[in-house]
């Protein structure tokens, strides 16, 4: 049995190593990209991996994340929305592969959150509700996920600022998130790492 497995798992695992290596390179290029063009190049390499690896959620997750970053850089509202549409299409594919991954659900909420920023007055009521719902679900799926908590804090902070109310709730959530950033370790080598810097900059507001 062991021998048999070695024959099977060997080559397949060689692919997995290749997958992990290719992904790590692409993820790094997402994290380090400075312009929309660089992000597009990173998205393209992720899309190539996704097209070959049909049961992996990570390529779609990072594609979606890269589109969110593009939307953040874009100023024109209609184009911003178009990037968010692409982010949404990608995360839906990730979700179809692994519906109960906390990271995926948190990213769905992130997309809703950016939708609010396009037109807070018109969209606030609808999309802030959807975002909070997603963050709540992501935290329920994995209470250790620091990004779900950090995004919740971000949303609470934005809402409090919009209405001019105190940001106490946001700071409580943020402290919990910062703690999780220190303790949480995923056994997936491709697990998302982003969010700590965003949380740290929000932390300044709480002091």
């Amino acid at each position: 049995m062991a021998i048999l497995l070695s024959v099977i798992a060997g080559p397949v695992y060689a692919n997995d190593t290749r997958y992990v290596e290719a992904m790590q390179k692409s993820i790094q290029s997402v994290y380090s990209a400075k312009s929309i063009d660089e992000l597009q190049t990173a998205v393209n390499s992720l899309e190539r991996i996704a097209s070959a690896e049909k049961v992996k959620w990570e390529p779609y997750y990072y594609m979606s994340f890269a589109f969110i970053l593009m939307a953040n850089q874009e100023k024109e509202p209609a184009r911003k929305d178009a990037y968010l549409d692409q982010a949404n299409a990608a995360i839906e594919k990730a979700s179809a592969i692994n519906a109960n991954e906390s990271e995926i659900v948190a990213l769905v909420g992130f997309i809703h959150m950016i939708r609010v920023t396009v037109d807070p007055a018109s969209r606030g009521a609808q999309y802030s509700g959807l975002a909070m719902q997603a963050f709540g679900k992501a935290t329920a799926l994995n209470p250790e996920n620091p990004r779900a908590l950090a995004l919740t804090a971000q949303m609470q902070h934005g809402t409090a600022k919009f209405f001019g109310s105190p940001i106490t709730d946001a700071c409580v959530t943020l402290n919990a998130a910062l703690q999780k950033f220190d303790t949480y370790k995923s056994d997936n080598p491709l697990a998302p790492q982003w969010g700590r810097e965003m949380a740290m900059s929000l932390k300044k507001e709480c002091n």
């Binding site: 048999l4 497995l5 070695s6 024959v7 099977i8 798992a9 060997g10 080559p11 397949v12 695992y13 060689a14 692919n15 997995d16 190593t17 290749r18 290719a22 063009d37 597009q40 190049t41 998205v43 393209n44 390499s45 899309e47 190539r48 991996i49 097209s51 070959a52 690896e53 049909k54 049961v55 100023k75 024109e76 509202p77 209609a78 184009r79 929305d81 178009a82 692409q86 037109d119 007055a121 018109s122 969209r123 606030g124 009521a125 609808q126 802030s128 509700g129 959807l130 909070m132 809402t159 600022k161 209405f163 001019g164 109310s165 056994d187």
Partner: protein, 756 residues
């Protein structure tokens, strides 16, 4: 014997989990990890060997990516299908990458806004050069839009000029749809009626549709010469499309304008809303569940306490009291279906005294009870990826019991409208919409006392209509919409055909021109049809030219039009008992619109200007003249400012309307006199002390200008030989409104701002 192939990457590889499962091993994560650890090293070694082997047969694939016109496309993703091998195209469209693959393999190129490109290539150890030519898709972001005559407010779609929220936050409109739209070009302010008067048309020429279904009389009743408010609350709708001409063949029975309201598909969460207003109170509850939601609202309005406070021009016996109930039910059916039911029930009563122009001590009672019901059921579903089917039925009931002096009369109007429409995209460049509809309408009028002209009578009208409309995109830059509407009217026993055509061309990445032409029909007003049931529908022709520039929260728009009326009702030799349809008229004008949500932080403002030149020869006009509802110049400035520190949104609206004609029987010329200009400065403040609490304050006409809408004249010459006049004024110089709105929901940040 199990054959394990060295992964031939041209085929989809089975995943580790799939393989383990094949051998009866439970695909558990811990097991997977154990196997991983043990065989990692071996796998790595095998991997290295493979790569080394592959290294011998590495080939270079290069080429260019262009669009059909040969322009380079940068950022396209070119790769070999089901492999990691590929690259992005450079700014000059060029690309190159190496691969270890061999044999026949599919080369794919993907880029947003373009159709996927695929071409089989043969790798035989030599480099391959591929010319990739990508065809653009018609997509929402880039495609030209048909904009002639239309203002679309829809939070779902992009690049809209007017948002649903604008209706609620426009000062002076106090959440009335018509009043908010009155700040857009193409409309004329008729202060004493409050309805939408579009491009030289009267208020009845604008038809309201809810979810595609017709609405009879979209306005609440009001005392003569006082403005009426729309029956439908803006927060019920997710989208508003207001067309001032050239609208789709789907919409009939409207001469001048179509106001198309789309009700919301779903509620975000369960909530209860309570409003305490200076003129009444309302309570609403929304319950949402996984696949649907229901909402109900009860509103009671009594202006009496308010009228006690502020002096009114009107001699009320009983000021208006209105009780209104609104209910909504929405349910998803299966994956694609959506069923919506909407009901609006309203009872209003008021009575007042009209005083004689000659002798103020002589007064006549005017008393009106109005009962109104509107029910609308609609269903929408996707048949497949390309076709959607929607259908619906609406029922309208209106009863008016009026006492006017010594006589009284009762009116009942009922209408049933049923419609089925299929929308299909036969390709991304060709969309088709076809449908049929039936409108069954009955009207009964009974006078208690026979007047000089007894209007008693009734009619039943059936209209059967069919329409079809095609959108053909030659590219993202050019679209043609051609439609035709056929209508058969049972009273006349004749069918009519109305062509509609629109073209739009994109002149730049943010600008476009469009042109629209069409003919439009509407049955004459009920009192004329009673008099002569064989009357043909009245007819209008629209020709519109539009230029629009939208870029990053700034919009500029200019539109010019020519409109012709035919078949209008006309008294033969001035005798109201003898009518024919020789009446005609025209309207032409130019309109400008500028909106800027960018230049000043936290400020959103827009400016509209409309010029109108119109004349008609109809009803009792002795010759062609400008009707009394038409004004040559209309100007609006709407300004909204959100002040974070005050937790408030401040807004003001300034409106100006040049003098309107009126007929002074003391002068020779018909409609030859003009009223003074109209102007109004309205302000509002929305204060949000807590996320779930809003205090709203608004005041119209803060300068207290005494606007005069026209003059009434006594029917007989006085002793001095002249007809006495009396100006038609605003019922009160200002309308002050205070409201407190509380929302109770799980999510504490939800409030009623979007519905205000």
């Amino acid at each position: 014997m199990v054959v394990i192939r060295v992964p031939a990457t041209a085929h989809p590889r089975p995943s580790t989990v799939q393989l383990l499962f094949f051998f009866g091993v439970a695909p558990r994560a811990h097991l997977y990890r154990v196997i991983a650890k043990v065989y990692m090293r071996l796998a790595f070694v095998i991997g290295m060997i493979m790569m080394n082997i592959a290294g011998f047969s590495q080939v270079k694939i290069s080429g260019t990516v262009t669009d059909v016109n040969g322009a380079p496309i940068a950022g396209a993703n070119i790769f070999l299908m089901d492999t990691y091998d590929g690259s992005s195209s450079l700014p000059d469209g060029g690309f190159e990458f190496n691969t270890t693959e061999s044999g026949k393999i599919m080369l794919v190129s993907k880029f947003v806004g373009y159709k996927d490109f695929q071409q089989q290539i043969n790798l035989e150890g030599k480099g391959v050069y591929v010319k990739v030519v990508m065809e653009e898709t018609i997509n929402e972001l880039e495609a030209v839009m048909i904009t002639a005559g239309s203002f679309t407010a829809n939070d779902d779609s992009r690049r809209t000029i007017f948002k649903a929220l604008d209706i609620a936050t426009t000062a002076g409109a106090t959440a009335d749809i018509a009043a908010a739209l009155n700040t857009l070009p193409g409309t004329q302010k008729v202060g004493e009626q409050g309805r939408l008067f579009v491009r030289g048309g009267d208020g009845s020429e604008t038809r309201t549709f809810i979810d595609g279904m017709m609405v009879l009389d979209a306005y609440n009743v009001s005392a003569p010469n006082t403005p009426s408010r729309g029956r439908f609350l803006p927060f019920m709708f997710k989208g508003t499309s207001f067309s001032t001409g050239g609208y789709s063949a789907e919409y009939g029975q409207a001469l001048s304008s179509a106001l198309v309201l789309d009700s919301k598909d779903e509620a975000e969460s369960s909530r209860t809303d309570i409003g305490i207003l200076s003129v009444g109170a309302d309570v609403a509850h929304t319950q949402s569940w996984k696949s649907g939601s229901a909402a109900a609202k009860i509103q009671y309005t009594n202006i009496k306490p308010y009228y006690g406070l502020i002096n009114q021009e009107i001699d009320w016996k009983e000021p208006p009291v209105t009780t209104e109930a609104v209910a909504v039910y929405r349910q998803r059916v299966g994956k694609e279906g959506l069923f919506k039911l909407y009901g609006n029930f309203n009872r209003a009563h008021f009575s007042m005294y009209n005083h004689s122009i000659d002798d103020y001590t002589q007064k006549y009672l005017y008393d009106l009870i109005n009962e109104y019901a509107y029910l609308n059921a609609s269903y929408r579903t996707s048949l497949n990826d390309h076709w959607t089917l929607r259908g619906g039925a609406s029922y309208n009931f209106i009863q008016n019991n009026t006492i006017a002096g010594v006589e009284s009369f009762d009116e009942i109007e009922k209408a049933l409208h049923a419609k089925v429409v299929a929308d299909g995209s036969l390709s991304d460049k060709f969309e088709l919409k076809s449908g049929i509809e039936v409108i069954q309408r009955s009207y009964r009028h009974a006078d208690s006392v026979s007047m000089p002209v007894n209007l008693s009578g009734r009619f039943d009208e059936s209209i059967v209509a069919g329409f079809t409309e095609a959108d053909l995109y030659s590219s993202n830059k050019f679209v043609t919409r051609a439609g035709i509407r056929m209508e058969y009217n049972s009273l006349v026993g004749k069918a009519s055909v109305d062509p509609r055509l629109s073209l739009a061309y994109k002149t730049g990445s943010s600008s476009q021109v469009s042109i629209a032409y069409g003919t439009f029909r509407q049955s004459p007003k009920n009192n004329w049809v009673i008099q002569n049931p064989l009357l043909h529908p009245e007819k209008a022709e629209h020709l519109i030219l539009n230029y629009q520039y939208i870029e990053n929260n700034r919009t500029f728009r200019v539109e010019t039009y020519y409109k012709r009326y035919h078949n209008l009702i006309k008294f033969v030799d001035g005798n109201p008992d003898h009518i024919d349809q020789q009446g005609k008229g025209y309207a032409r004008g130019i309109e400008l619109f500028w909106r800027d949500n960018r230049s000043i932080k936290n400020v959103d403002y827009w400016v509209s200007y409309s010029y109108l030149n119109t004349e008609r020869d109809y009803i009792d006009f002795p010759y062609a003249a400008t009707p009394s509802f038409a004004s040559a110049h209309n100007f609006s400035l709407v300004y909204k400012h959100f002040i974070q520190a005050l937790k408030s949104q401040l807004g003001f609206t300034y409106s100006y309307t040049s003098g309107r004609p009126y007929n002074d029987p003391n002068t020779e010329k018909f409609n030859g006199s003009k009223t003074p200009y109209y102007s109004d400065l309205s302000v509002n403040v929305a204060y949000l002390p807590k996320p779930f609490l809003i205090v709203y304050l608004s005041c119209t006409n803060i300068t207290g200008r005494d606007n005069i809408f026209g003059y009434e004249f006594s029917s007989d010459r006085g002793d001095n030989g002249i007809y006495q006049n009396r100006p038609i004024r605003q019922p009160a110089p200002r309308f002050l409104f205070v409201g407190i709105f509380i929302t109770i929901s799980k999510n504490k940040s939800v409030n009623q701002l979007p519905s205000l």
